[in-house]
Amino acid sequence: MNSIHDMGGMHGFGPVEVEKNEPIFHADWESRVYGLVRVWYPWARYKSWGSFRHNLEKIPPQDYLNMTYYERWFYVHEKKSLETGIVTEAELERGRASPDYVIPDLESHPDSWRGSRRLNEELPLKFCEGQTVRARNINGFAHNRLPRYVRGKIGTIFSINGVYALQDTNEKDEQPYQQLENVYTVKFSSKELWGTDGNGKDFVYIDAWESYLDFD
């Protein structure tokens, strides 16, 4: 989807500000949110949760920019927990589970075990190393991992990285974990991406599922 998360090439955010001796977490609640995401990860467990990254991307742009990283992580978990009935507003207000709570029977993800790991599979390769390719011009509301700044641009296949489940979501906001694809690293010249504002000595590499690429 075309939202604020896709930041590559944007202007106006100013210099990169570095905090000296930054702690791992700035507050205890940040560490609890990180731990919660790691030990629960409902995004892979329940079909109706969609994709974690897509839900982060669906945060309205003005809110996205005003939230910190862990605020965003918490926001989408709290929101989905409420929407799916795993917790209720009243329970969160009291900070206790209702004595007669019922956990909704959410459909699980039969293929989520594939997750985001490299799969021990081989698929015929559409492209070979060194081949010229054009990144497709994808503009749906669904989730994909092709950044805006490469769309329609010409690059070359730098390397072939094995088979992964596609991380996109479909029109029902589900991840088609059963859709397996080759993943490539594609090299773009800075001049191709940024025109005369690019630098002839700079190159940008992205990783792309096969369906993001076309023959040029």
Binding site: G14, E19, W29, R32, L36, S81, V87, R117, S190, I206
Partner: protein, 218 residues
């Protein structure tokens, strides 16, 4: 491509790297912030419903607070500096070579190591979210997750590097790796001149997180 095309004061208010709820104050305050209370409420309710195990949560927090960090990546780098066979394996198949040291894990299963040379300087970013090799570098610093870094690393990497104090000759190529799929990147920095006599452990102490992201030279 000037980076001075925005109002910096306004940016400071809206940029995600600056926390509006100011967690640094939360840390020293006895009154929990609203978000701290909400997080506590969700954790408690999920625990009471037996959907999460707080001990497992404690364990993962402890691991990432106290055990996993850039010292892991530094071991990989130091070994590559002293052992040319290892270095070759590392550059050919980062995952297997890092697995030899027992340092693979979530958000770092498929590792690609890119080598800085006299001709090429590498820089790692994730423009779409903040993908980062957790098992070798720990959790990312706020600047890596900031809008400024994510937006500019791909379009004006040399300006970004200069802000970090890295001034590259025009003849050096800059290769930026945008982690848009599940591969995670680690930069193999150049070994500092005059350190050839040091052993692996001593060398690993010279390796910094920022050098392994590509925003620092050693």
């Amino acid at each position: 491509m000037s980076r001075n095309d925005g109002n910096v004061t306004a940016n400071k208010r809206t940029d995600s790297s600056v926390n509006k709820s100011n967690p640094k104050n939360d840390e020293h305050s006895h009154v929990p912030s609203e978000i701290a209370l909400r997080v506590k409420a969700l954790e408690t309710v999920l625990t009471e419903k037996k959907l999460i195990d707080p001990a497992a949560l404690d364990e993962v927090v402890d691991r990432y607070k106290n055990k996993v960090g850039p010292q892991n990546g530094a071991k990989v780098v130091a070994k590559a500096w002293v052992d040319s066979d290892y270095k070759q394996r590392l550059l050919e198949d980062g995952s297997s070579a890092i697995a030899e040291l027992g340092l693979l894990g979530q958000q770092g299963e498929h590792m690609i190591v890119v080598e800085n040379t006299d001709e090429i300087h590498n820089l790692v970013v994730c423009t779409l979210c903040s993908c980062y090799p957790w098992p070798t570098l720990g959790l990312p610093p706020t600047w890596y997750k900031s809008s400024a870094y994510r937006s500019r690393a791909v379009s004006e990497p040399r300006e970004v590097l200069r802000e970090f104090g890295v001034y590259l000759p025009d003849s050096v190529e800059v290769h930026v790796w945008d982690s848009t799929a599940e591969m995670r990147y680690l930069v193999l920095p150049r070994q500092p001149v005059g350190t050839e006599h040091l052993d692996e452990e001593e060398l690993s102490k010279l390796v910094t997180r920022d050098a392994m992201i590509g925003v620092a030279l050693l």
